[in-house]
């Protein structure tokens, strides 16, 4: 095998225990005779160990508590199946969640102190239809005017009293 990157990609697999047995035997044979492969193997091993040492990361104090509280808040504000804003918009989502939480808290507080919530309704109109018809009917009977000719009737209605 030529010692280029493609051929040598087996060296990383070799270090990671990701080679097939027959492949490993071939690499062992090659390493036994090639100083360059031995050097390359050591170079890759060194980098691999440096990166693996990076696996230990100091967790910032309070981060887990904060994140758990944030995720729990999302669960309260929205059902599990509801769509959730992606990570790039987390800041926006957090602000939005804050507004919803504030609204919910405000409504709860209002209920607690007995504040009435006024719900607007359709206005109710009760025209005196029967009285108007009756008046015109009286006028019609006096003047011989059909009731469908709706002239003013208040004077005559008053007169008939």
């Amino acid at each position: 095998m030529a010692p280029d990157d493609d051929a040598q990609s087996v060296l990383s697999a070799y270090l990671d225990g990701e080679c097939r047995p027959e492949e490993r035997a071939g690499i062992d044979a090659h390493l036994a005779t090639s100083a360059r492969w031995q050097r390359d193997l050591e170079e890759v091993r060194e980098v691999r160990e440096l990166v693996r040492a990076a696996a230990e990361v100091d967790l910032p104090p309070g981060l887990l508590d904060d994140v758990i509280a944030a995720v729990a808040a999302v669960e309260v504000a929205a059902p599990v199946d509801a769509p959730v804003a992606p990570v790039a918009d987390l800041a926006v989502a957090r602000r939005s969640r804050g507004r919803i939480a504030a609204w919910v808290a405000g409504m709860a507080a209002a209920a607690a102190v007995g504040v009435a919530v006024i719900v607007p309704t359709e206005p109710v109109v009760n025209p005196p239809v029967a009285a108007v018809v009756r008046t015109h009917a009286v006028r019609s009977s006096v003047d011989g005017v059909p009731t469908d000719r709706l002239a003013q009737s208040s004077i005559r209605a008053g007169f008939l009293k």
Partner: protein, 167 residues
């Protein structure tokens, strides 16, 4: 079956380590962990008990890659004219790396790796995932995983030699 909160407590450090090595930024890592736990919470009902850290590594990687794709689609916004509106500089790479317990040159070298190499290397060396798992997570053949990990390590070495970290 653990609850999502138990998973957060028991595996939060693992999630954060992978997220931090992928993003190279504490605040970004925090957001990735938060989004990951949200997906854990939502996906827990369909999760089949077994390789929990493999599942978590897949979630945190997908969250990171989703964010990378979204940032690529989003146009870069212009700097504000008002100097008072300019966001103050965040902690420097050296400070951040020191806080994470890692020599700054190594974190810088990891950050400088193109994503196509950084993600397989981090999944292998930080998340300790097998090539098969990385292949499944990234949707690429195992042979590609193998070559990207090796190429990534060679690139890291070149950067570390230039930085004088290794001879």
């Amino acid at each position: 079956m653990p609850t999502w909160e138990e998973i957060a407590r028991d595996h939060g450090r693992f999630l954060y380590a992978v997220a931090y090595r992928l993003t190279g930024d504490r605040e970004d890592a925090r957001d990735v962990v938060q989004e990951s736990l949200l997906r854990v919470r939502r996906g827990l009902e369909t999760y089949t008990p077994g390789n929990l850290e493999g599942w978590l590594a897949r979630i945190v990687t997908n969250v990171f890659l989703d964010d990378v794709r979204r940032r690529r689609r989003r146009p870069t916004s212009a700097l504000p004219d008002d100097p008072d509106l300019v966001v103050p500089p965040s902690a420097g790479a050296d400070e951040v790396a020191a806080a994470a317990g890692l020599p700054p040159d190594i974190q810088r070298a990891i950050d400088a790796l193109p994503e196509e190499f950084r993600v397989p290397v981090v999944l292998c060396d930080v998340a300790d995932r097998s090539y098969e798992e990385i292949s499944t997570t990234l949707g690429i053949p195992v042979g590609t995983v193998r070559s990207r990990i090796h190429r990534g390590r060679r690139l890291l070495r070149t950067a570390l030699v230039e930085a004088g970290v290794v001879a």
